[in-house]
């Protein structure tokens, strides 16, 4: 079967910073940030559960704030800073949130995990010692169908302690 020549859609070129690296990327201008990350930048860690802003699986940090990448167009992200789950570990070392999530059963199927991790990261960046209520509130837009959330709350709290320890170590380092 001969396949007719597909019409070319206009490509949108943007520059953005993703996980602390400068990126230039061109994509079909209708694409969401989620699609640009997954399809054009090869960052498959960010997931989709509804593509309608209902589940939180696709959460990423845009200029440090959690956003649903399925509701943001790629073209809106020109010149901005994006952090995805791939940006948490540094030099092969897991982030304290990742350590705690892995150790404490906070990831079962792992599908909601990337979105929850970055959302929790934004919380800990904003509030160094959040209460359980603040953790719940911050993660209330992230649906997890496996865990019942409790091990997730505990992991965030564990990471909060670990992060504080790590921070004080850095501060006291010569």
């Amino acid at each position: 079967m001969t396949v007719g020549r597909a019409e070319t859609r206009p490509k949108a070129p943007i520059r953005l910073r993703v996980n602390d690296e400068e990126q230039r990327v061109s994509f079909d201008s209708y694409k969401t940030l989620l699609e640009v990350l997954r399809e054009d930048l090869g960052l498959m860690g960010t997931k989709h559960g509804c593509e309608l802003g209902e589940c939180g699986a696709c959460a990423v940090l845009l200029d440090g704030e959690p956003v649903l990448s399925c509701l943001i167009l790629g073209v809106e992200c020109d010149g901005r800073d994006v952090k995805t789950v791939e940006g948490l570990a540094k030099d092969g070392r897991l982030h304290p949130l990742q350590e705690a999530f892995a150790d404490l059963g906070a990831a079962q199927c792992g599908y909601c995990t990337p979105g929850i991790l970055v959302t929790a990261l934004a919380l800990l960046d904003r509030v160094s010692h959040p209460s359980r209520e603040q953790v719940k509130e911050a993660l209330s837009g992230n649906i997890c169908r496996c865990t019942g959330y409790l091990q997730i709350f505990e992991a965030v709290e564990e990471a909060m302690v670990a992060s504080a320890t790590r921070r004080s170590e850095t501060e006291t380092a010569p």
């Binding site: 396949v3 892995a102 990337p114 719940k136 209330s140 496996c146």
Partner: protein, 820 residues
């Protein structure tokens, strides 16, 4: 070799795949991208019931970027999960049976092109009468949704009697009759179904798919594609949640495989969330009638259960689901005489199937609320009454289910103590209440989906001079931690670390068959097979090390990555060295293990559903707060105790319990898969009320209560290291415990789920106006039940066989009847 303390089993531990998950590196089906990959979308029926008169796809085929359009003619062979319900076609050929049934597939260079091309396909339908409810299906013989089944639109009817219930009712002090309704709901796994198919360079085909049952998908593909199964490879990618929703072979899986074969290029499909609601296979809506006779101390003398099951448009697991609605009542409490009648009908809605608890949460809901009513009527404490009537260990139940260990009484005692039950029940202020309920669940279905005498699971081990161990098993990781269980069992036996073992799972080319992640079977079955394979490897290593150390192999211990003399622990070799000398002595080291459940004691028709190697038990106390002005219900605390036998990895076991409580609260309070008619000016079609995650409510972090989880650990001789299931059982008692707590709080009975504020307000209004303080179904409709299959219980001299062979009503009679 001597017995020693367990060092891995029972110790909370990071799961073996935990790192990948937190890095976002777990590769789900939609994360697979292959060179030259094309994308597929399905055209779905906008009508609930119609004949397909004509499909014209010529415009779609001509659209630039479109590579292929498939219709029902390309894939006419029928398939289905059960051999008795081969009633699905990958693309509907003659008829559509619900809104969302696929009629055509477009494969194009990208998803958007495929999506746009769907509009180019013209389908002419001839509408048929829609059957929206079980009652309509019972009353309407024509048109038939399927031309098989019992008769008319009745898919399956069963009638079983274990002893004479009438005699039991006559001997009872009180007889209670109640009708309950359990609304359908769906799995809502966060990952949308996705599949990728590709033709291998050698011409064979590989399908990567988000499936819980790669083996059954394998069989369906071989059948529909008419290719030898040996030339098809199905790889189950880690599922982003399953809960039973990825247990059927699905049309989209078959379509992409066919398209890849036609085009010689990889083809991917990823369903939208709306389409996932159409795949469904979720909880069957069930109307039930319980008649139970009791002595004044609560002892049950007889129980008669009837269930009317809304199956939706296809068979799916429905025949098994039908039996499951009646299977486990006797496993929890002692029921000396038991009668069960079940009827599943077809309706023009997405097919129902197995969701966590498969067919058993609905009757569990009814039974546990009725027990609460009974306890109140008899002025008994419902917890104490349950302790009195709990089934006893090492029992053959009235319906021939062999129960081994039972931790139910201990579970009840723990939740009673932890929750402060005695100080709270009927003692909390108006608006606050506690309720209790119990349950039992299978640790794996005793029979496979299709009849065969082969093992239900197999594990292969490869050990080589690197010291590395690779474990191959067909089991499917759906998030529950099956890879972790596999590795933990092997590591424990061989005395090495879980991290030293690589798990290769869910791949029909590479791994021995495992039937799939359903019926809570994997830990018990795969675990036993893994232990067998590991013990065999251990023997090979031990014989070689024993010869080298010149000691009897019985003196060797395997621990901490070493193989050593227990009498002189300094003398030994590293595990790697042990493998090397074993390889030198025996040649290449490989072992296998397999598992088949013990034969069932039931020898009557239908006795294949319900048997399990062992059963788990759970008890739960739920506390609720009910606002009598708004009807709003909140759940501050759940206490749950689960008889797990032994937990392999307590971190994961706790997660299964808390996840079950979560899912159960969703079902109890908000989740419902319901339907509505579109306005007449549109099509009047019966459509899903809200196929979106925004409107299909599920609990968020803000809705999750405190959960106090307790494990009763009494190792079961059937389980690996004594383990029973934990993935499904803990869901079961929560819904009825919520209902019972609502009654304790505000004195009204809500005899159906979800228990919503509106229903509470209606029940409060009913009470205020002098009517029964209840919201729920009024009656059970008349169903023409078949002749009872009479099976005397063990204590009445039965041997598991039926006394009679009821005549099967022929559907042919109905087909020849004149059409209205």
């Amino acid at each position: 070799m001597t017995a020693r303390k367990l060092s891995i089993i029972g110790v909370p531990r990071r799961r073996v795949d935990g790192r990948a998950k937190v890095l976002g590196e777990t590769r789900f089906a939609d994360d697979i991208v292959l060179p030259r990959m094309l994308h597929c979308k399905l055209l779905r029926s906008p009508l609930p019931h119609a004949r397909i008169v004509r499909i014209d796809a010529s415009r779609a085929r001509a659209r630039p970027g479109v590579h292929l359009v498939l219709t029902g003619r390309d894939l006419p062979l029928e398939y289905g999960i059960l051999p008795v319900s081969q009633d699905e076609q990958a693309l509907c050929l003659d008829k559509v049976r619900f809104v969302g049934d696929p009629v055509a597939a477009v494969v194009a260079r990208d998803e958007l092109t495929a999506f746009e091309a769907l509009d180019d396909i013209e389908v002419e339908y001839e509408e048929l009468l829609t059957l929206a409810t079980p009652e309509e299906s019972l009353e309407t013989a024509e048109p038939r949704i399927h031309d098989y089944g019992e008769e008319g639109n009745i898919h399956k009817r069963v009638a079983l009697a274990f002893g004479d219930v009438e005699e039991g009712f006559a001997g009872a002090d009180r007889v209670f009759e109640d009708v309950f309704f359990y609304e359908g709901n769906t799995h809502l796994a966060l990952e949308q179904h996705a599949s990728v198919a590709a033709v291998d360079p050698d011409g064979k085909i590989t399908l990567w798919s988000a499936t819980q049952t790669p083996h059954y998908v394998h069989r369906a593909l071989a059948k529909v594609l008419e290719i030898p199964a040996a030339h098809i490879r199905v790889i189950a990618t880690p599922n982003g949640g399953g809960f039973g929703g990825k247990s059927d072979p699905f049309n989209h899986e078959i379509v992409v495989a066919k398209a890849a074969l036609e085009l010689g290029r990889p083809v991917k499909i990823c369903l939208t969330r709306e389409e996932v609601f159409y795949c469904h296979r979720g909880r069957h809506p069930v109307l039930m009638r319980f008649k139970t006779g009791v002595k004044s101390d609560g002892t049950i003398t007889a129980m008669h259960l009837q269930t009317l099951i809304d199956g939706g448009a296809y068979g799916s697991y429905g025949v098994a689901s039908t039996f499951y609605t009646g299977a486990l009542q006797t496993v929890t409490y002692h029921v000396p005489r038991y009668r069960f009648e079940g009827c599943r009908v077809f309706t023009n809605k997405p097919p129902c199937g197995p969701k966590r608890g498969h067919g058993t949460p609905q009757p569990r809901f009814g039974q546990e609320i009725q027990l609460d009513k009974i306890a109140e009527a008899l002025s008994l404490d419902p917890a104490e009454m349950r302790l009195r009537i709990a089934e006893r260990p090492d029992t053959l139940t009235a319906n021939y289910l062999r129960v081994a260990t039972i931790g139910l009484s201990e579970c009840i005692r723990r939740v009673v103590e932890r929750s402060g039950w005695k100080d709270r029940f009927r003692k909390l202020p108006e608006g606050r209440g506690v309720g209790i309920a119990c349950s039992a669940y299978l640790s794996g279905a005793g029979l496979p989906i299709y009849w065969n005498q082969m093992p239900h699971t197999g594990v292969q081990l490869k050990l080589d001079r690197s010291g590395g161990v690779t474990a191959f098993c067909g089991a499917t990781e759906i998030g529950q931690g099956s890879d972790d269980v596999l590795v933990a069992c092997i590591a424990e036996v061989l005395g090495i670390r879980p991290f030293d073992i690589r798990a290769v799972t869910g791949d029909t080319d590479l791994t021995p068959v495992d039937l799939g992640s359903y019926s809570s079977r994997v830990t018990l079955m795969m675990g036993n097979a893994a232990i067998q394979a590991a013990e065999r490897a251990k023997e090979l290593l031990a014989s070689a090390v024993a010869r080298k150390l010149e000691i009897p192999s019985q003196r060797l211990a395997f621990a901490d990555g070493r193989v050593f003399d227990v009498e002189n622990p300094e003398r030994g070799v590293s595990f790697q060295e042990a493998v090397c000398i074993a390889e030198a002595m025996h040649g290449t080291i490989g072992t296998v293990g397999s598992y088949s459940p013990p034969p069932s004691a039931a020898r009557f028709k239908g006795g294949g559903v319900g048997p399990s190697p062992t059963y788990s038990y759970t008890a739960a106390v739920v506390e609720v707060e009910v606002d009598t002005v708004t009807g709003w219900i909140s759940v501050p605390h759940v206490w749950i105790a689960h008889d797990i036998g032994r937990s392999i990895n307590p971190t994961l076991a706790r997660g299964q319990v808390e996840g079950s409580v979560y899912m159960a609260l969703g079902e109890a309070l908000m989740e419902e898969q319901t339907f509505r008619r579109l306005p007449a000016r549109l099509s009047n079609a019966l459509v899903h009320k809200f196929p979106s995650m925004l409107e299909y409510k599920s609990p968020t972090t803000l809705d999750m209560p405190l959960v106090t989880t307790d494990f009763v650990e009494n190792p079961d001789p059937m389980g690996p290291f004594g383990a029973k299931e934990v993935g499904q059982g803990p869901l079961l008692p929560v819904m009825p415990a919520v209902a019972n707590a609502v009654y304790d709080a505000v004195g009204v009975r809500i005899d159906e789920v979800p228990i919503t504020p509106e229903k509470i307000l209606k029940a409060l209004e009913a009470r205020a106006s002098g009517k029964p303080a209840r919201y729920g179904p009024a009656a059970f409709p008349r169903v023409e039940w078949p002749e009872l299959l009479e099976v005397p219980p063990p204590w009445a001299g039965g041997d598991g066989r039926a006394l009679n062979r009821p005549e099967r009503k022929s559907a042919a009679k109905l087909e020849t009847a004149p059409r209205p």
